[in-house]
Symmetry: D2
């Protein structure tokens, strides 16, 4: 939940939960003093409450309205439906698939969409349908229409661009605002756009990084969920950076995705509150 | 506050605060599910309440008693009185003194006690009394009696062993349990005791570290507040480790001390909850 | 190469290479001043020399003998044969397999050996033979004889224990000294042996780590190749540490293995020189 | 030394040193394959040679000329003369002064120059002359002329801008190219110019950093020596970033300065080779 800050929000919410005997498994608050905004996340044990999510929502509504709250109730038993999009490189995709397969990343993955057929058999080994939707400069519109159709058909909650390497059209970005996660292979806002490792090499930086962010209509400018870096030196050529960068990319994407899937991320303006 | 976990603790506390119109500046909770214990820290704007700390305490008492709570009310306007103890090396001491002098570390420093006179003029430049209490194998008892007297005379809240290099007697450790902070120059529990960098060199580790912990009667075994490491390689001799280690030591000690001074650390058993 | 330190080693070696017009792609030296020992690694472009490895070895021999050198000539075109051993957990295994499959880890993987059948189909998807060699307290000797036979049959250069979870018998450790790589899920020398995350949880450390090391007959005490850590807090239960630790384990093992496969590691006593 | 890459450079140099019985304490090479350039640094024990620096230079000259080398011979017994410039904030200045005072940073510090008088007594405690040269928009030219005069009078090798906060005029930048070191409080190239922590706060990054670089005439665009970052979150306001950033700033500046003072940095184009 998020709302304008004032006295008594936590009391109001936690009393409501306690009245109904709800067990709070985890509680996080944050007051953004500059924005005058308050954020709160409660993880409640479902079977400690005497009713289900519909009734709960009904009862929360008047409180939310009183406090001017934007809020969301998520049933953690219902898994997110996550569509993965990739290109030829496998490091991010495999990292996500293997976490999912090991039970470390709870979600459903209805399909993988790619503009190349390279990773088909790998994806299919995991029992996940793979859709090859080729793209070139002449058929961009048709490509993205097909992508959009697939996303809809699979009742997608979240799209993950696991090094997909194509810029999504505005329409998809807007319709799925806050639900498309990208990994950019630089420490944003440095090195926006193409070939960030080449840019990093030219500038002679001593650390390279990766950024997991929500996609918005402005390239590489959406709300940042997670970032990390790795040390490099003069000994590293661009191809070394690419190799070292892959490790940061996959870690940062998987960490960011986990936060998103556990509904720990609240977007406010162009920034995120991440209750880890 | 800390107490056995049960439903409604946050509701109880936050409602009490809200009833009296208290503004919560920061709230942190933690449920230790293994221990069945609940921890809560609230930072309340003093002038949002209609009464002072005495009345507040009086009103909290019945709630605390009902919930079986250990609790503490700290007036952040009243500064901790911190006695620093050091030996010959200045890196930790200067780091603390300069943060204090720059206003980044709020506390009073009534005096510095050392078994060497080396750092006197540096300490005195900061306007802080310096007590030289020499120690050798023949006068340990007298030394520590004098140290204890100085600690008492200066109405000390917290003692910081900023590379003091002597083992405090049991009596002081017990009397000031949870109020003496040490920096040990290894990543505990590795390399307990003397010459940890030599031990690290012998073992051929690839990272060295430092540990800030509360002192208990067992050497280097008290509750850990903060730790960090720095990368080394085969190129580093023991003296390089000493030099690189100094940076980690001073950072880790200052970060741990800051958490302690802002009353963000709760000791439970031999572990800490640090609400950063 | 490694030998007692003295004046002129680099000159002797580099002159020899230059005489035959050899292009040095990368050169690393290290003088261990405490041990009085010198280490040198040269990467020479094979086709810049007028002869092959046999002739080269023949010509190096007298220089090596004069300098009292232990040395090794490795043809980087000949790939290491790496046997992977695992148990049920896939994170380390998949990380290695996917790097290998993507061309980021150059080696041959003749087979995977496991005491469980769990990961068979995953391994077989990569086109690698999988041997299930069950083990229980009654058949340990038979198990290890079979393991040893498989290692020999596959002309194994290097064995990687990718979370294999069994202690190898002395005979294998000794025969393959410097060629068996293990990942231990703690920051050694802390938390040797079983259940290191439980030990870390009990001790209340603020960082957990992983250690990649050569296996020797003493448990978790061999020469360390690589280590790293990740930050945890009071919020993390043992199962969270296990999850977070997996990421460090797989990274540390893959980085250590890469150093080994590129022949960048020289073992000296119980320590390593790693020319990264 | 640096020169176009070719076969036999190391042989040529190391043979020359060995001929004269020179003991190499540390040797570093780097071949920049993209630029086709070779870099080499040798630390030679002075008293292992039968002659002094003049004769040594005389003998190196023909080799350097033959190889087309830029080179520099530095007598490590002769300390760099380092002028520190600061403004009001003390964290970087004190960190350098205390390392110097403890013997961990070998150099001479002939004076400190500041546009504020704030840190005078602190500097003077260390026995170092302090020059207060005020600046405002009306007297910039006079200010910098006085600064330039002081730099010259003190026979300065290196100027360190320890959070000096003024942009040096082109004339000084050009005359002292490669000898003025600045600390910028962001992870460059992100957040060039004023108020980088405010920029970082606005963008919602999850790590903030600092960059130590040589000053050139283009603002914050000179060759980078060292960088590092620290993790932040939504909980951190700008003032928290300022506080946390100070630690990274002082560490990064001191590490970069140490590399410079030990003559481990070679500038090539707009990048550095740092032989750590």
């Amino acid at each position: 939940m998020s709302c304008p800050d004032r006295v008594g929000i936590v009391a109001r919410i936690s009393s409501f939960i306690a009245e109904h005997n709800g067990t709070i498994l985890e509680a996080n608050h944050h007051a953004d003093q500059q924005a005058g905004w308050f954020f709160i996340r409660n993880e409640i044990k479902a079977n400690s409450l005497p009713f289900g999510p519909e009734k709960f929502s009904e009862l929360v509504e008047p409180i939310a309205s009183e406090l001017g709250m934007k809020w969301r109730l998520v049933d953690s038993a219902r898994k997110h439906r996550v569509v993965l999009m990739c290109s030829k490189q496998s490091h991010c995709l495999v990292d996500i698939l293997n976490r999912w397969h090991s039970g470390d990343l709870e979600c459903d993955i209805p399909c993988v969409i790619s503009n190349h057929d390279t990773l088909r058999s790998l994806v299919e080994w995991y029992g996940i349908p793979f859709f090859h939707v080729p793209v070139d400069s002449s058929n961009k519109q048709a490509h993205f229409e097909q992508v959009e159709t697939l996303i809809k058909q699979h009742r997608t909650d979240t799209v993950v661009l696991a090094r997909y390497m194509q810029i999504l059209p505005q329409s998809i970005c807007q319709e799925m605002r806050g639900r498309i996660i990208n990994i950019h292979h630089s420490f944003l806002p440095s090195f926006v756009g193409a070939k960030p490792y080449h840019q990093a090499f030219e500038r002679g930086v001593k650390l390279i990084g990766a950024t997991c962010h929500y996609v918005t209509s402005e390239l590489d400018a959406g709300p940042i969920i997670e970032q990390d870096v790795v040390r490099i030196s003069h000994r590293h050529e661009v191809e070394d950076m690419v190799r070292l960068g892959k490790d940061v990319e996959k870690m940062v994407l998987s960490r960011g995705l986990l936060m998103h899937l556990e509904d720990r991320v609240i977007v406010h303006g162009n920034k995120t509150v991440v209750f880890d």
